[in-house]
Amino acid sequence: MAAPLRPILLVEDDPNDLEMTLEAFADAHVANEVVTVRDGEAALDYLHARGPYADRPPRRPAVVLLDLKLPKVDGIEVLRDIKGDARLRTLPVVVLTSSREERDLVLSYQLGVNAFVVKPVGFDEFTEAVRQTGLFWAVINELSPDERPAPATPP
């Protein structure tokens, strides 16, 4: 493993969901660092490396797990910003939401979301969903060329 694993950005305002998601990642042995932010504004600050995150390490996340119902700037707005930004557009975004609302699903896909996961009620199913999501997007998924690490560290 030449390059260090890129972090997973988890955007979640609900502490219970946050705890459960982190538990699920731990359960699934997902090794990536999980960066958590609690609202949409913080998510955008992190992604654009500005404000409180101006000095963060320059690594881009492997995937953004995005809740939709967020304080300040909601998940749909965050998604719109990411997919409307030339530098961020290729960043994989997975909506991970409590909502079964169809309009959220449709709007998310219209905005270019990469996956849409409804959090299952059962914990086992939830763990499984989070595990698979993390595995797929953080580990398996082939990154687009500009997502790849700089060739300074050849394999």
Binding site: D14, N16, D17, M20, E23, K69, T97, S98, S99, R100, E101, E102, R103, L105, V106, Y109, K119, P120, V121, G122, F123, D124, F126
Partner: protein
Amino acid sequence: MSEPATPLRSFRRAQATAVLLPIGLLSLLALTLGWEIRMLLNASADATRSARVVALAEKARELLVDQETGLRGYLLTGDRIFLEPLEKARRDLRPLGDQLATILRSDPEQTARLREAIRHVGDWEAFADTQLDQAHRGVRGKPSEILHDQRFGKQIMDAVRAAADRLIQAEADRATARDVSARTLGRRVLFGSTVWALAVGVVLAAFSRMHFKSLAGQYEAALAEATRQAEAAHEAARQTQALNVTLEQRVAERTAALEATNVELEAFSYSVSHDLRAPVRHVAGFVQMLTRSALPKMNEKERHYIETIRSSAEEAGRLIDDLLSFARMTRLELQWHPVDMGALARDARELVSREARGREVRWNIAPLPTVRGDREMLRLVFDNLFSNALKYTRGRSPATIDVGSERRDDGSVVFFVRDNGVGFDMRYASKLFGVFQRLHRSDEFEGTGIGLANVRRIVLRHGGRVWAEAALGRGATFYFTLPPQHGPAHPGPQGELGGPHPWRAGEARP
């Protein structure tokens, strides 16, 4: 005339009277005038006759004077020169008498007078012949005799003159009388005609006035009727318009209210979806985490508590999901298309058959018609009914599920799904299609009780009806109808959501 019902006929009658009456009255006047003119012409002819008679009589008197003068001259002088006028007068006198006789032959009195005159003339001529004869023969009477004779002759001549005078006088009288009567008659006829013409004029004027009034009355009545009808039509149109305005207003109000309700419903279900579902998930999740870390240390009772919390939380989650799907069923716009119900039933059978692996199930799906409706929703109807049928035939081997349809006289189609399962008590049939209503214990047959509620909602939204027949232990038959010529003439706006339908067969099952 006063019947407004037949104004045309009465108008024609009035028209005929107005033409025929004056023609009749004026013809009568013309006949009267014609008769009068004839009378005047007759009077004129009479006057001419009288004038001629008088003229001829005067001429005759002159001729007689000539004769008398001639005779006297000859007798006194013996000169024959006097004989010539005598002879001539005598010759001329005869045709005069004939002419008079011809003219007066229709008048007995005058004829009698003429004859008397002629008789006297005859006497005088006989006397004159005797005198002449004596003179010719040279017989000369004594002067006394001559005188006597002359006096005799004068007497005869006087009689002739008297007769002629009477004749003339009578003729003159007669002419005068005729003239007077003709004038009187003329005046009377003229007066009468004037009066007649005036009367006719007055009658016609009165008649015309009556007709005019009648026609004017009819015209006014017709006008009033037309006005009344026009006003009635106008009023009706106004009322209809007012009604339309009211209806449109009401529709707009209702639509606004419904839209507001719909918006509220959406907000509600969105809130339920996010806010109610999350804590339920958390309960389930944290119980699970607790289970993992603490299970080995728990006793049997504690494990049971934990398990109950877990299953209850999951059940609550399912109920919420079912409720949301039911709400969605109510809200989503129907997408009207022709739907092959046979193909739909076969697809649904494929899907639900996975639940019945290892069981012997005999499906009998008869040919089904194509209807108009929302494919995904109708699919859900079959999914739920088939899933139910499979579930409640669990103890049967083989389970039989019959699917069929029948077209009714009114064009609607009745579909049925019949199974040989446990059935149910018809006393509770009314509860069958209620939300979360169940006729079996959940530990007998799983499910939340939303499936048939969804079926009912979908069929109702298609304008159909749903019901069931069953007996305990002898299976159940579920029926639903779809009305003829399904779907609105102008399908409403398509659902704003173009994505895949959110229902899956397992999602809304009792």
